[in-house]
Assembly symmetry: C2
Homo-oligomer: 302 residues x 2
């Protein structure tokens, strides 16, 4: 009987499980099954560090690995030769997009101020910025970028999508056009992965090109934005920022960004919310069906 | 020459002003013009208290008053006989809808926690609730309700719209159906005006009908929700709340809601953001055109 190892025991609630599989559960926290020798498909527990990844070495029959992250840079170096790898593309889109919106709205509508006022029971009122009417340069226009764009459109903001290469038919600009686009941005949202070409794309020159009071949002990877340059531009009060990712992570406790007015920081939690789980479980059920039927897996990356 | 009194001097930036009007400016803060005897159309300054409203009495030639609020309950009692009143319906829709979303996302994605952690430079991470997949009962389905619904749809949440009377063709439930709808609500959003029929619509029984951990959001008027009942249900931790309006306002500094875990309060700021101004100014330009041309005004309420 074909053995598979999955991180959750309740997959049958998310679809019909195929016959002909022996399904064991390993959540990345409790001990793994003692005998892993027959495991052919391994669905990695999500966000549990390197231990579960190293476990691949104890699976001599392994044919395929399913990661539940979009980025698989930590899995690839440890992947045994000849083993197929599928990623978790799309599972976090809804979660990351809504966290991006949470950051944007918190910044535009002064939520940190109201949280502070709540502490002292103060009803002091003041008008705030809006999202509506804003011009939002969206750097990274894959599935998460498009989900963010849907929110922006619902909110009467104008989206200027930018991807690594221009796609004129879709109205998507190329990253080489950034210098001309940044001076018109009220809000810059970065949703880029940690690739060599994305690293440092938003440096001192790009930040300097933004107009006064612009908001820099990063929900991709911290390496996209030059932290020192952003610290300088927010430190003078010229720019604002709302960041779920920074370089380095964790941001050191004494880093000046933590205490800069107009800077809001969340600790890389955009992808980790309740909506991930049903999406991940539905994907696993479909992958199990495909694996049992000998059909190609979805999301194969190598 | 027909005299009109408006709150802003830059209206010409928002459209073509008609010939044949003498346009004076009164912003509700500086002193009004000494002679108001010839004013025929008065656009009330926004959110400046009762002084500007009482000024109507000094305008014997007054034919029409334009309020920039959706609710005109404070203007009506002081409106001179025979004077037409137009309201500011729609001017705040974008602002209120995005604030509603800011409150919902802040609550679902734990923003107050991250604001607290930022204070101590803590990178402690935890998974949160989502907006996606939530079932959102939207109590009040006018233009603001529809704007909120567009955000919910973009966020992969399910909207259950409820209005005072059912509109089956639109899928809108009547308020009498609430008892059957509340047990299925992850999030209840109230966007009702302060009318006799809306007062206390969400009382102890309705709150008790909500499932554990449901989020109660109010961006309409505080009188919709029974404050004592909500204080009790959030005090035990059974329900959560995100409130821009409460009864009474201001909420007294020692009120227990201020310090209840899972309760987020903003001081009635949903309507007051930057996006209001261009919308208000474009409306005024159109009303001036209509007034000068002898055409009926928009948004006439009495």
């Amino acid at each position: 009987m074909t053995r598979v190892l999955v991180p959750w025991a309740d997959l049958a609630d998310y679809g019909t499980l195929p016959d002909g599989l022996r399904i064991d559960v390993y959540d990345g926290v409790a001990s793994p099954p003692a005998d892993l020798s027959g495991v052919e498909l391994y669905v990695l527990p999500y966000d549990r560090g390197s231990g579960p990844i190293e476990l691949m070495r104890a699976m001599p029959a392994l044919k395929a690995v399913q990661s539940l992250s979009a980025g698989v840079d930590k899995v690839v170096p440890l992947l045994p030769a000849g083993v197929e790898l599928a990623n978790g593309r799309g599972l976090h889109d809804a979660s990351v997009a809504e966290h991006a919106l949470a950051l944007i709205l918190a910044a535009q509508r002064d939520l940190p101020r109201w949280v502070d006022q709540q502490r002292s029971g103060s009803w002091e009122r003041e008008h705030t910025r809006s999202l509506a009417d804003s011009r939002v340069v969206l750097l990274g226009y894959g599935s998460i970028g498009r989900a963010i764009a849907r929110f922006m459109t619902a909110g009467e903001a104008t989206v200027v999508p930018v991807a690594s290469t221009a796609r004129p038919a879709e109205g998507v600009h190329g990253v080489s056009e950034l210098p001309g686009l940044l001076p018109g941005a009220d809000i810059l949202v970065a949703v880029l992965p940690d690739t060599p070409s994305a690293r440092g794309v938003i440096g001192a020159a790009e930040l300097a090109a933004l107009p006064d009071d612009a908001l820099v949002v990063n929900v991709g990877r911290g390496s996209t934005v030059d932290t020192a340059a952003l610290t300088a531009e927010t430190g003078t009060g010229r720019l604002r920022a709302a960041l779920d990712v920074v370089a380095p992570e964790p941001l050191p406790p004494d880093h000046p960004l933590w205490t800069t007015a107009g800077v809001l920081i969340t600790p890389h939690v955009a992808g980790g919310s309740a909506s991930f789980y049903p999406r991940a479980k539905r994907l696993i059920v479909e992958q199990l069906r495909r694996f049992a039927a000998g059909e190609p897996l979805l999301n194969v990356v190598s």
